[in-house]
Amino acid sequence: MDAADAVEEAWRSESPRLLGALLRITRDLDRAEDVAQEALAQALAQWPATGVPDNPAAWLMTTARRRAMDLFRAGERQQRAYAEVAAGVEETVEDSYDVDHVEDDVLRLMFLCCHPSLSDDTRTVLTLRMVAGLSSREIARAYLTSEATVATRISRAKRTLASARAALEEEPVGTERAERLASVMAVVYLLFNEGYAATAGEDWMRPALCAEAVRVAAILATVAPDEPEAHALLALLELQSSRLPARVDDAGEPVLLDDQDRTRWDTAAISRGYAALRLAVDLGGDGPYVVQAAIAVEHARAPSVAETDWVRIAALYARLARATNSVVIELNRAVALGMAYGAETGLRVVDELAAAPALAGYHLLPAVRGDLLARLGRDDEAAMEFVRAAELATNDRERTLLLGRADRLRGC
């Protein structure tokens, strides 16, 4: 492997640990990133001559930490004193050098990237950059935006965090910790969903974004191993990912669950999903991600749509709807009810939901309604719903799919 590749690989796997440790020493995300970049530059300069070290990650960590310490000694005492007072830490920087804080460091970094002072979009971008180790260019490609936009967003986020003194906060405990964990999980979930059904553009999904979300979920479960919901989120994402190979046809067109070739599902990912969910349950978990993963399991183990246990899925959605109070979940429950007890039943629930303001403009509401109407043989009404859904859809591939269904119902 050449030196540049080795540097890139080490960075991608080590960025959360590296930045987490540097963040603890510098108490500033910007500075932590600067120091990390310097270590990477040093690696790029040295490795071609000296060869790639046996343990590139350890080399980067040592180099970066040494540089961070130099910065302190070079007159950043004020910053340090301030950091210690604010964070209530007694330890000296030298102590923190030896103690194994890796898990806390990474978790702190994740909390910071998903800090309440930041918007959801900014949280996902910052998490991709700091935790997943993606460059601004890679993030821009994933979000179909310009590198400059991403860079601006990141520097603005750093300013927001600095003015909120977010990096100086004490590690949250109790309910605050639970809330911060929940916000990290929400960001990971958002990231995955953006990859699973891209909200805009030509591609129906962006598998690379899904893979990053799985990796970030795994990092979270690594550093919060006693949190059942963290394992459940990982399970959910593994199970959803298992269907990625079947979700597009050879022409790149979307294939919905009903029509998917289940032999293309990734059985290895399913096995990892089962194992992660089992851990979550064994740890006593019964939260929203456990329930969602349980729903995903029902799909994963069903040989076909017809042989799926829709009664159980509908019951799980009901449990989820009670816990989350979400109309989108209710809509999913309507689909499951329609499968379990007939389209008539599903339609009744959808019609109740149609009035909910949160679903106005949500393309899946008319899409689901159209589906149920079609199953009842009310083709004209169904076609109208699919046209309406197509008008609301923001993804090009999905719009084409919906219009195709409308056309078929009209006998075109």
Binding site: S13, V214, R215, A218, I219, L220, A221, T222, V223, P225, D226, A230, H231, L234, E238, T267, A268, S271, R272, Y274, A275, A276, R278, L279, D282, L283, G284
Partner: protein
């Protein structure tokens, strides 16, 4: 290289493992997912509970559904890793057993690390 690692249990100190064990092996499993080294994983139910042993001996094939005499040791699960070499696979297993030592004191067992044949060259 792909390795299948089968966990043989020889001593179980309590009927069910404590939550500490789940957190410990859960953390490892997540770590192996994050670094992409884990391919597949599965837990196996005790053969006394469900399963069979099918034998060919003395020219005849027979199936035993139990009771089994050989119940002192059982394979409790397996993991398939994709790692550079056997040493790396063994290291994963050593960590897995260390997690048992911490999370389920008194547990004893061993892990069989086996390499898959690569695709045959015609």
């Amino acid at each position: 290289m792909k390795f299948i690692c089968m966990i043989h249990e020889t001593h179980r100190p309590t009927p069910e493992p404590p939550p500490e064990l789940f957190a410990a092996i859960g953390g490892l499993q997540a770590e192996n997912t994050a670094d992409g080294s884990i391919v597949e994983v599965g837990g196996l139910r005790p053969v006394q509970e469900i399963g069979a042993i099918v034998t060919l001996t003395g020219g005849s094939v027979s199936t035993t559904d139990g009771p089994f005499v050989e119940s002192k040791e059982l394979v409790g699960g397996y993991a398939v890793y994709d790692v550079p070499d056997a040493a790396a696979a063994a290291e994963k297993c050593a960590k897995f057993l260390a997690a048992h030592k911490e999370g389920w004191p008194g547990w004893e067992g061993w892990i069989e690390v086996r390499a898959y044949y690569e695709a045959p060259a015609p």
